[in-house]
C-alpha cells in the first residue's frame, strides 16, 4: 500500500514537475514576443505618441516655457494664427515647396532611373550611382554651406560665372524672387540620389520573364519600360510619393536655416520653420503646439488622400 502510494505520488509529482515546466516554458515563450517588441514600443510611446497628445493639449494654452502656470485660452492660438501675416506667408512658402519639390523629387529620379537602366551594364554605371547618391550622405546644413559659397553675392561662384557673360550681380539669397529657388535647388541636389536608388532597385527586381516575353513579341525598349517595367514598380513609385509628401517641408529646414534664415520677408519660410521660430525664438509654446497639431492633421489627411485616390492604381506583386 505504502509503496504503491509513494510510487503514485512520485509519478504524480514528476508529472506535475514536467507539466509545470511545460506551462512555465509556455508562459515564457508566450511572453518573449512582447519582451522583444517592448523597448521599441515604449520609446515610440514616450517620444512619438505621447508628445502628439501633449502637444495638442499645449495648443490650448498660453505659455512661454519658463512661467510656472499655463493659461487656458481655448482655440485662441489657432484663430490668432490666421491673423498672423507671418504665418500666412509661411503657408505660401509651404505650398511653393510642395508644388515644386514633389514633382522634382518623384519624377526627376524616375526619369533618371529610366535613363540609367538601359546602360546598367556600362562600366561607368557604378561611378554614376556613387556620384549621384553622394549628396544624400552629407548633412543638409553642410550641403547648404557648400551652396552658400556658390550663391554668395560678393565672392560667390555663380555671380562670377554670370559676370563672364556680362550679366549683372544678383543677390540670390536676399532677393525675394530668387531666395526660395536657392533652397529648392539645394533640395533637388540633396534628394535626387536616394529616390533614384529606390527606383533602380525596383527595376532590378522586375522578373526577367515578363520582359523577355514582351521583347519576343517585338516590343521596343520604350514600350517595355512603359507597359511592363513601370506598372511593376508602381509600389515603389507610390512609396516615394507618400514619403516625399510627408518629408518635403521637414527636409528643407536645414537648408532654409543656413541659406536664408527664412527671409527675406519670410519668402523662404515654411510652416516647419515658422513652428521653430514661434517655439524656440519667441517661446510661444501655445502657438508652436497649435502649428504642430495642424501639421500632423494635414499630413495624415494628405497621406489618406493618396491611399484613397492613388493606391488603387498601384500593382502589388
Amino acid at each position: 500500500m505504502a509503496s504503491i502510494r509513494t510510487t503514485t505520488k512520485g509519478a504524480t509529482s514528476s508529472g506535475d514537475v514536467a507539466r509545470r515546466r511545460f506551462t512555465w516554458y509556455k508562459i515564457k515563450e508566450g511572453v518573449i514576443p512582447y519582451l522583444l517588441i517592448a523597448p521599441l514600443l515604449i520609446l515610440v510611446a514616450v517620444f512619438v505618441y505621447w508628445p502628439l497628445i501633449y502637444s495638442t493639449y499645449l495648443s490650448f494654452f498660453d505659455w512661454n516655457f519658463v512661467r510656472p502656470d499655463k493659461n487656458f485660452v481655448g482655440w485662441d492660438n489657432y484663430t490668432q494664427l490666421l491673423d498672423d501675416p507671418r504665418f500666412l506667408r509661411s503657408l505660401h512658402g509651404t505650398w511653393i515647396y510642395l508644388v515644386t519639390l514633389i514633382p522634382i523629387q518623384v519624377f526627376l529620379p524616375l526619369g533618371l532611373a529610366m535613363l540609367l537602366w538601359p546602360i546598367r551594364r556600362a562600366k561607368s554605371q557604378g561611378a554614376y550611382r556613387v556620384i549621384l547618391f553622394s549628396p544624400t550622405v552629407v548633412a543638409w546644413s553642410v550641403g547648404a554651406v557648400m551652396w552658400l559659397w556658390i550663391f554668395n553675392p560678393l565672392q560667390g561662384l555663380l555671380n562670377k560665372v554670370i559676370a563672364e557673360f556680362g550679366v549683372e550681380r544678383v543677390n540670390w539669397l536676399s532677393d525675394r524672387n530668387t531666395a526660395i529657388w536657392t533652397v529648392i535647388i539645394v533640395a533637388t541636389w540633396k534628394t535626387l540620389g536616394f529616390n533614384l536608388l529606390l527606383y533602380l532597385a525596383a527595376l532590378e527586381a522586375v522578373p526577367h520573364d515578363y520582359v523577355e516575353a514582351a521583347s519576343l513579341d517585338g516590343a521596343s525598349n520604350w514600350q517595355i519600360m512603359r507597359t511592363i517595367r513601370f506598372p511593376l514598380i508602381t509600389p515603389t513609385f507610390f512609396f516615394v510619393l507618400v514619403t516625399t509628401v510627408i518629408s518635403v517641408n521637414d527636409d528643407v529646414f536645414g537648408a532654409i536655416n543656413v541659406l536664408t534664415e527664412g527671409g527675406p520677408f519670410e519668402s523662404t519660410t515654411n510652416i516647419i520653420y515658422y513652428l521653430y521660430e514661434q517655439g524656440f525664438k519667441y517661446f510661444q509654446i501655445g502657438d508652436a503646439s497649435a502649428v504642430a497639431t495642424i501639421i500632423f492633421v494635414a499630413t495624415v489627411f494628405l497621406t489618406w488622400l493618396q491611399f484613397r485616390f492613388i493606391e488603387g492604381h498601384v500593382h502589388y506583386g
Binding site: L36, L43, S134, V137, A139, M146, W149, G218, V300
Partner: protein, 290 residues
C-alpha cells in the same frame, strides 16, 4: 540565350541604339557634373589661400595650395570636439536603433502572438508623424530630465525614429528559408537563442546596411541637436557649421569654413563609397513596396 530571344534588329536600329546610348551617357555625365561640383568647389576652396579665395576671376584649382585652412578651422572653433560629438552621437544612435529594431523585426516576422498586426501598425504609423510635431514636448521632457547639452538628450529621443529600418530588417528576416527556422526549433533552441544564433548571423548584410544608413542619418541630424545642444562645446559638426555663417566676424572665413565642411563630409562619403553595392542590393532584396 540572350541573343536568341532578342528579335533580330536591323543595322539601322542598332546604330540608333548606339547613338542613343552615347546621348544618355552625355546627359547623365552632365547631371553627375552638376551633382559633384559643389563638393569639388568646397575641397578646392578649402586648399586656397585667402587672396585666392577672394579673386575677382574664377579660380577653379588653387594655384598655391595650402593646408593651413584646416588647422585654422580647429583654432577658430572647437571643430575637434564637434567631430567627436558627431561621432559619439552617431555611434550610440546606431547601436541603440539596432538594439531595439532587430528583436522587434524578428518578433514581427517570425513569432505569432496576440496583437502582432496592431503593434506592427503602431510602429509603422510613426513614419507618417512628421518629426517636427513632437519637438516641443520632447524638448520639455529632455530639459526636465536635465539632458540638455548631453549626448543622451540627442540620442534617446531619436531612437524611436527607426520604423523604416525595422521594416527593412523584417523584410530580410522574412526572406530566410522557413527550414532554417524549423531546424533551429527542432534542435530545441529557445526563441532568444533562435534570434541570436540563427537569425542574426543570417541577416548580417541587412544589419550592416541599416547600421550605415542610421549612422549617416545621425551624423547629419540637424533640427533636434540644434535645439538640445546649446553649449558651444557640445555641438555636432552639422550644427556647429552655423557659427561660420551667422557670425558676421567669421563670415569672411570661407577657407576655414570649407575646410570644416570638408571634415564633416569626408566620413560619410568614405562610408558610402565602401558600402554602396551592399546598400543597393539590400534595397532590392527587401522589395520596398509602400
Amino acid at each position: 540565350m540572350a541573343s536568341m530571344v532578342t528579335a533580330p534588329r536591323s543595322r539601322n536600329a542598332r546604330q540608333r541604339g548606339f547613338l542613343g546610348r552615347i546621348l544618355v551617357h552625355v546627359i547623365v555625365l552632365l547631371i553627375c557634373f552638376l551633382t559633384i561640383f559643389p563638393f569639388f568647389w568646397m575641397f578646392s576652396t578649402s586648399f586656397k589661400q585667402a587672396d585666392e579665395v577672394f579673386t575677382k576671376d574664377i579660380q577653379l584649382i588653387p594655384l598655391h595650395p595650402t593646408v593651413m585652412n584646416y588647422p585654422d578651422a580647429f583654432n577658430y572653433f572647437p571643430v575637434a570636439q564637434w567631430f567627436w560629438n558627431s561621432f559619439g552621437i552617431a555611434v550610440l544612435t546606431t547601436l541603440g536603433k539596432l538594439a531595439i529594431s532587430i528583436p522587434a523585426a524578428f518578433a514581427f516576422a517570425r513569432l505569432k502572438f496576440r496583437g502582432r498586426a496592431f503593434f506592427f501598425a503602431v510602429v509603422l504609423a510613426t513614419m507618417i508623424v512628421p518629426g517636427v510635431t513632437h519637438i516641443v514636448p520632447n524638448y520639455i521632457l529632455v530639459s526636465d530630465l536635465g539632458w540638455l547639452d548631453t549626448w543622451a538628450g540627442v540620442v534617446i529621443p531619436s531612437l524611436p525614429a527607426t520604423a523604416f529600418y525595422m521594416f527593412l530588417l523584417r523584410q530580410n528576416i522574412l526572406t530566410l528559408p522557413q527550414d532554417l527556422i524549423d531546424a533551429g526549433r527542432l534542435d530545441g533552441a529557445s526563441t532568444v537563442k533562435l534570434l541570436w544564433q540563427i537569425v542574426i548571423p543570417n541577416i548580417r548584410p541587412a544589419i550592416a546596411v541599416v547600421s550605415i544608413l542610421s549612422f549617416l542619418g545621425a551624423w547629419n541630424q540637424y533640427l533636434w541637436p540644434l535645439l538640445v545642444l546649446n553649449d558651444f562645446e557640445s555641438k555636432t559638426l552639422a550644427v556647429g557649421m552655423q557659427f561660420f555663417t551667422s557670425n558676421t566676424e567669421s563670415a569672411q572665413l570661407w577657407g576655414p569654413m570649407m575646410a570644416t565642411a570638408a571634415i564633416a563630409t569626408i566620413p560619410p562619403l568614405l562610408i558610402f563609397a565602401f558600402a554602396q553595392k551592399q546598400i543597393i542590393s539590400t534595397f532590392v532584396t527587401s522589395g520596398i513596396k509602400g
